[in-house]
Symmetry: C3
Subunit: 142 residues, 3 copies
């Protein structure tokens, strides 16, 4: 069984954001699968999806602090600067964390670990709504 | 055909570890697939799975040296420090390398390149056993 | 429906290269799928596949400049140096960006965003042709 849908994640400020609930709410068909996989694909080159800690907001703030020094806004070697000082670093970060995720599905739910959540990594100051292609596949619930 | 199982990877010290054989030994059902995909999903936020060189242990030691300077234990900007100085860097590294892999399956085996192996990247000093959800899907062997 | 094939990406100099057209031309079977997923797997440990901006070549050149300072060729802590000063950094970069991609398929085409393209990240000075295992799965076009 295959179900493929599009939805938007709502606009977020620059930083790392826990969006597990928003994603699950966009996928009512998840409940139809006994075993399978969910593939999430962000159709953008300046944001990412990743899986990380779902509890302490300080973890997400620390990610933003780390990534700002690892990929600095004002690196003197960047040439692609016409779209803003946050644009080229956003492209690098998009590939560092990746624009897609594959998550196991079991008994109609995501088989995440206790401390895992899905994060939208917004690398632009004003990224706007972010478009996701979600592909569910697997065996229907009995 | 879908087969989804859970297994644990045995505890490893902080560093990068070749675990191809341990994973294949945990997946006897791999032999049943003519063509397909194996999805491995680590249910943790302070360890990673990656694919890299399967021969020289110095490559894995060099990874640890590189990542310790790229994501330092004592970065002054980290606020999430109550769980130990290796905790917040472990979260960052978990997302840098990612917690899941998808590997092609052919004639009952993983279609890895000659020099490729599966690595467990243990980012904590004492991470303990690591839980994996393995999802096999594809066409049964003839 | 499952279709798994092998093909080579032609040799590229060290750097980041837009290869969407080369990959799609290697996959005529893509047109047979109504909905599904394409999995691309590079059988190497010193190159990567990623998705990023498909328009301005300066973005790809900026990636190379960024990654050369993030993973320097002459890092004094690298011990695995017998295969050349570009070898060990290439291994690290291979895992940073990853050796595989999963991309949604819709109506016989890749469901990429407007600005997205597939990049081959060649981390060696002379990497040669790069072998890819492509796995297509999904529902056949009606």
């Amino acid at each position: 069984m295959w179900i493929q849908t599009n939805f938007n994640l709502r606009p977020q400020p620059r930083g790392f954001h826990l969006v597990t609930d928003e994603i699950v709410a966009s996928l009512p068909d998840l409940a139809k699968f006994e075993v399978g996989l969910l593939h999430l694909f962000l159709q953008h080159t300046s944001a990412s999806l990743t899986i990380n800690e779902n509890a302490d907001p300080a973890v997400r703030a620390d990610f933003e602090r780390w990534v700002r020094q690892a990929v600095p806004d004002d690196a003197p070697y960047f040439r692609h600067v016409t779209e803003g000082r946050d644009d080229m670093p956003a492209h690098v970060k998009s590939s560092l964390f990746g624009c897609s995720l594959t998550i196991p599905v079991r008994q109609g739910e995501l088989a995440l670990g206790t401390w895992q959540g899905i994060w939208l990594c917004e690398h632009r100051e004003r990224g706007g709504a972010r478009s996701v292609v979600a592909t569910l596949q697997g065996e229907p619930r009995r």
